[in-house]
Structures are given as C-alpha cells and as structure tokens.
C-alpha cells in the first residue's frame, strides 16, 4: 500500500477541503530516527460529504486528522480549506479558521475540562471570538444542547463527571457545532462507547449533519461503523493510502488485498459464519520508523511479488469511484486464502 498519487482527487473548485502530499514525521528521541506517521497522503472532501478514514492503529489516520487542523503542523504538503492554504496561515488567521473546522475526540470524558460547567464548555468558542451578545450566546448554547438531546434547563450548570460517556460525547458534539463550523473532524468518536450508545451517537451525528449542513471527516478503526456513516472511504495502512472508494463498492468488491483482509477479520454477528473459513491476515503492522520499501503492505500481503518491494504502487482507478494503490489489485470475485489454508499462526 503504499500508495502515493492524486488520481482519486476531484476538481479542486468543488472541494471544501483538499489535502495534497501531506507528510507528518515525528522524531524518535535524539536518535536521529523518525516515525513516518503520514507519508504523501492526498485526499479531498466535497461540501456535505462524509469522508471515512479507516485503518488499524498506527496507520496515521488520527495524525492525518490532526495535521489538517495544523495540530501539529505537517512537515510538508498543502491543506486547502475554504480557499486558503492552512499550512501557510499563522496566529490569529489560523485560529479563526479553526472556528470553521472543529474536532471531536475519542475519549469524551478526558476531552472535557472537569472543573467547568457544561454551558461554559460549550460557549467557550463563542466567548473567545465574541460571537454575539451574552444573551445570544446563551441562546445558542441552549439550542445546541437541545439539538444533541440534553436538557439545558436542568443540565447546563452541571459538570462533566455528572454525565455518562455517551452524554459527554453529546456535550463534545454540542461544543463543536455551536460556532457553526463547516467541517468537523471526528476522531474515533464512538470507540469508547458501548454499542447501544454508539448507535445513538452515530444517529445524532447524521442528524447534526442535516441540521447544521456539516461536512464530516470520520476517523475510526471499525469498518462497519465507517461504512454506516460515510459517502467515501479512505483505507490507510502505515501512513499511506491503500484504497479510496464509495462504501458499498468497497464492501462488495475490495480492490486492495489489505481491505479484503480487514473486511474478513471483522467478527460477524452471525453464528452460521465459521471464522476459520474466512480469510485472515497474518503478522502485524511493521514499525513506522523503518517502513518496508516499495509497497508498505507487502510484508503481510499474500499476493506480494518482487516488484512490490522495488516499486511503490501509484493510486489508479479500477472502477468508477474506486481507486487503489496496488500492483496486483483483487480481481472481481477473487478472495484471499482462508485461515484453514494458510494457518496465520
């Protein structure tokens, strides 16, 4: 997977956000080595679209989300948002664009200040930018709380510890939508929640999207969750893009061997599906400090050939709306070897 390239990007004038050749690296102590967290990733989001970013831990999906927010700044690449290149913005200008671009984090409890009241947490963005009078701000907070299913009269004066995890995530969502942003980056917003609450929050995000006309980048490791919310899915592996596709095609006919393996690893709530008859991926994600040459997935790929080590595959279109970075994409109907066959142990 390696994939670099921009074949999957759409016309720049249509997109709300366009990220090109994004690179993020972190130093490893004073060793001079670096973690290649995100290497040459390009993606774009149309207004009103939900883009799903999916992959296992260490694939760079959260780093991509944060680098778009310039937290931290990427090493290179451009982030065009709303007509401006975020990587060149500084100080006030940068902070002002962040009112239009919000983030929702994974752990709802630790991302809220425990010592502040819910109303102050939600109103903070409004207060910093002095958006409206005090009365208008209070009204906006009430509206946002109602919209996410909290009762302003009863709960505005409470503090985060008085709420459950699902409710705290509702507060985070209210805080994100209150300044009327255009884009919300949701970084694993439901991973810490129970399934019954997860469904509530996913439904709520869909409602918020309709109500506030939002565009979402939805980052998660659970492909079923991402499929449910997304209009377009980007599958990442070790800092690179493997596959970009619309959700239904991705599920029906994954083009990248990694996508196919990922799909087959998901436990299906159906007792008639025998786990040992499904394909599986052997091995684990290699270290991003010394990623494999060529295609970064080749060390785990059952289809890998010599060329995969020598040459990095470029993103190419395999079907309308489906792009893959692989020398040997999966043919229609092709499946990976099953666990019985290759014994992943």
């Amino acid at each position: 997977m390696a994939g670099s390239g921009t074949a999957h990007l759409r016309a720049p004038e249509d997109s709300l956000l366009r990220v090109e050749h994004l690179v993020v690296e972190f130093p490893v102590g004073r060793t001079g080595l670096k973690v290649n967290a995100v290497t040459n990733v390009s993606l774009d989001v149309l207004p009103g679209e939900t883009l799903g970013l999916v992959g296992e831990s260490g694939c760079g999906k959260s780093t991509t989300g944060k680098a778009i927010m310039q937290l931290p700044r990427p090493k290179s690449g451009t982030v065009m948002f709303d007509g401006a290149d975020m990587t060149t913005l500084e100080g006030d200008e940068l902070r002002r664009t962040r009112t239009l671009m919000k983030m929702i984090f994974q752990d709802p409890i630790s991302s809220l200040n425990p010592r502040r009241k819910v109303e102050d947490i939600i109103a903070e963005g409004l207060k910093i930018w002095k958006l409206g009078s005090g009365e208008e701000q209070a009204k906006k907070v009430d509206e946002a709380m109602l919209a996410v299913g909290l009762d302003p009269a009863l709960q505005r004066g409470r503090r985060p510890h008085q709420f459950s995890g699902g409710q705290c995530q509702r507060i985070s969502i209210a805080r994100a939508v209150v300044t009327d942003p255009k884009l919300i980056i949701c970084d694993e917003p439901v991973s810490a929640l129970d399934v019954s609450v997860q469904a509530q929050i996913l439904n709520l995000l869909e409602d918020m999207k309709q109500r506030y006309g939002l565009t979402l980048i939805f980052i998660a490791h659970d492909l079923a969750v991402v499929k449910n919310v997304s209009d377009r899915i980007v599958v990442m592996y070790l800092g690179k893009i493997c596959e970009v596709s619309n959700p239904d095609a991705l599920y029906k006919q994954p083009a990248h061997p990694y996508t196919a393996g990922l799909l087959a690893s998901i436990p299906v709530p159906d007792p008639s599906v025998r786990p040992d008859e499904r394909p599986a991926l052997a091995g684990e994600i290699p270290s991003p400090v010394a990623p494999p040459s060529g295609c970064r997935f080749r060390t785990r790929c059952p289809k890998a050939q010599d060329v995969c080590a020598a040459e990095e595959p470029q993103i190419q279109q395999v079907a309308p709306g489906q792009f893959v970075a692989c020398h040997f994409p999966m043919a229609p109907g092709e499946t990976l070897p099953t666990r019985n066959g290759q014994a992943p142990l």
Partner: protein, 378 residues
C-alpha cells in the same frame, strides 16, 4: 525464595470426578460496598459449563460480566459481599478465600485479561513471567520450566521465541503481549480459561489471530473457556452457548445459534439491531437503544430493562421476570413478553398503537419523529 518452595498443588485434584459439569454456578450475587450504598454488580447468576466447551458472556459495560468471572475465580477486592454457590468439578469454592483459591489458579483455572499492557510486569523478562507459575504451581526444575516456556511461546505463535524470552514487555507489540498473556495462562494446563475481553485492546486483524489462537489451544487441550466480550460478533462463531447479561443478571441464555436465530429477550434483540452491519447500505439509520442501563445501587423494581424496552407492559414495572425455559432445551430468558411469541407480538402492537410503552418510552412513529428530543436522559 521461601514461599516458592511448596508442595505441588496439582496432586490435590487427582481424585476430582470426571463426570458432571466442570463448573456449576448457582445464584451468585456479588455486591460492592461503596459510600453510595451496595452496588449489585452481579445479582443472581446461575450457569453450568461442560468440559471443553466455550461459553460466551456478552454485555455492555457495567453489566457485571467481568465481575462474574472474577467472582468465580475468587479475584475480588475486600469491600465485597459474595453469596451463592460455585462448584468446580463438584467441589464448592464459593466461600473459599485466597489461600484455597491459590491452589486452583493456574492449574485448574486461569485468566487472560483485557489489557496486555498493564497485566504484564514491566520490569520482569518475558521468560521469567512464564516460568514463574510453572515453578510455583508445578514445582518443576528451572531447566524444565525454561524449556516449557520456550515451547509455550512457540505454540502461541511468537516468532523468534528464544530471543523473546530475554525481552521485556515494552519490546513487544500489543498482539504479541496478548500472546504472552495467553502463554502464561496456559502454562500450568488449566481446565478452565477465562478470557476477559481478550481482544478489545487489539486491532481487528490481530483480534482475529488471537481468537483463532485461543480456539486452537482450547481444542488441543480440551479446555473449557468463558469468553467475556461486549461484541456479539466475537461470540457468534466461537462459543457453543452464550449468556447475555444486563444489569447484573443473565437475561438470556442459549446455544449461540439459537440465540441469534430465535432471540427471545428484547434486550438481545435491541443489541443485535443496534450494531452497524457491513451488509447494510451506508447511511442506514441504526436502531439505537434509548436511555442507559439502570443504577445498580438502586435498581428498579420489576424488569431491569423495562425502562428501555419497546415491549414493556404494566406487569414489567411491578414484577421481576424469572428465568423461563424456551421451547428449545438449554434456552432460557427473563421476560414476560418474549420476542417472537404471541404475547410479545401483542405487547409490541399495543405499545405501537398507544405510541408509548408502560414505562413511558415513546415507540413507533412517536419515537422516530421526536428521537433527538426524547433521548434527553437525566
């Protein structure tokens, strides 16, 4: 080294009967004493487990699934009240203290915990952590223990096992650490393995590998396993029978296939419906379960799920349903108006017609039109 030099404990179990269930749990109640009052974490759980079989225990956080396995293992803190009977190979261990249970740990039953980061000792080499239970419980020589540790590491699929024995936990990835945890748990050949959310902290491709490994080890050793998880997908293909827990009780117990195909309890049904499925088109609206589980300090009278249940009738609010047998042997549920029966259909139809359940939960069109407004949870 003095406490380590003790008689091997395995001999004590030489006369254990081989017929009858391996584990027989009856009416176990585990209450935590807290400043707020008694937390009824496990409130009357009964189950049996045969040798070599897998039992799945499914529930959301706070349903008591982990506390149940810890109650059976005797791994509970001091601020706890424990009642009920736990029989292991016919012997009562429900009242046993740590000194007695120590003989069971490792050789008879052991546990794989959720978080491999925090359950390994960070300042002890992997090899030492695997040989420790062998030396302690089986009183074998150091050389023998080291050879066994190497064989164990190889059998759980760790490459370059010899080198790994000399490494520390931080040098391994999460998946490798969980393999080491499994090797430690299997070291003394237990008859019963508790896997408490063994894959929750792992990536999905690694999760599949670890579940395969547990399954392989289990069938090779003819070991029974209690697989505790919040993910119905994990138990679906791997457990012979499944218990669904809610608010400290088993609300439905059935052979796994039966549980999915002939669901009786509304909570199980709701749980199955709320999971996003890959086979659904994207943007399919999920059927969320409104509200949240009850407070276990002050649980409601009647059925604990009534407040969130679309089938709820006045009777559910007053009377607590007992575990009732379904037509299929081995299938039991706790509900007056079970899913898929005449009573259940009628209860749901009545509620849909009224637009509201006996517990005041809006259902049908009333619920969908005002979903966000009515999910106000105080």
């Amino acid at each position: 080294m003095s406490p380590w030099r003790r008689k091997p404990t395995a001999d004590r179990f030489a006369d254990a009967p081989l017929d009858g269930p391996l584990l027989d749990v009856d009416g176990v109640r585990t209450y935590f004493k807290t400043p707020r009052g008694l937390v009824r974490a496990v409130d009357g759980v009964s189950l049996t487990l045969e040798r070599g079989k897998t039992l799945g225990v499914v529930g959301e956080s706070g349903s008591g699934k982990s506390v149940l396995s810890r109650s059976i293992m005797g791994l509970l803190p001091n601020n706890v009240e424990r009642h009920g009977s736990i029989k292991f190979e016919g012997r009562e261990i429900g009242e046993s203290g740590t000194d007695v249970m120590r003989a069971y740990w490792g050789t008879q039953m052991s546990m794989v915990f959720q978080d491999p980061m925090t359950s390994l000792n960070p300042v002890m080499k992997i090899g030492k952590q695997i040989t420790e239970p062998l030396r302690y419980h089986l009183d074998v020589s150091r050389d023998y223990a080291e050879d066994t540790a190497l064989a164990l590491l190889q059998s759980v699929g760790i490459p370059e096992a010899e080198r790994r024995l000399e490494e520390y936990p931080h040098q391994l990835s999460g998946g490798m650490r969980q393999r080491v945890m499994i090797a430690i748990a299997l070291a003394c050949g237990p008859k019963l393995l508790f896997a408490d959310e063994p894959t929750t902290a792992l990536d999905v491709t690694v999760q599949a590998q670890i579940l395969d490994l547990l399954h392989k080890q289990q069938s090779e050793r003819f070991m029974a396993m209690v697989l505790v998880t919040h993910d119905l997908g994990v138990v679906a293909g791997r457990a012979e029978s499944t218990a669904v827990m809610y608010a400290g009780q088993i609300v439905e117990f059935a052979p796994t296939r039966e549980l999915f195909n002939a669901t009786r309890h509304p909570y199980t049904e709701a749980l199955l419906k709320s999971i996003p499925k890959l086979s659904q088109a994207s943007h399919t609206r999920l059927e969320a379960i409104v509200g949240r589980p009850p407070d276990l300090v002050d649980p409601p009278v009647g059925c604990k799920f009534a407040a969130r249940c679309p089938y709820a009738q006045p009777r559910c609010l007053e009377e607590e349903p007992a575990l009732t047998d379904a037509e299929m042997p081995g299938h039991a549920y706790r509900c007056f108006y079970p899913v898929g029966t005449e009573a259940g259909k009628r209860a749901l139809a009545d509620n849909l017609a009224a637009g509201v359940t006996a517990a005041g939960l809006p259902v049908g069109t009333a619920a969908t039109t005002s979903e966000t407004a009515t999910t106000v949870v105080v």
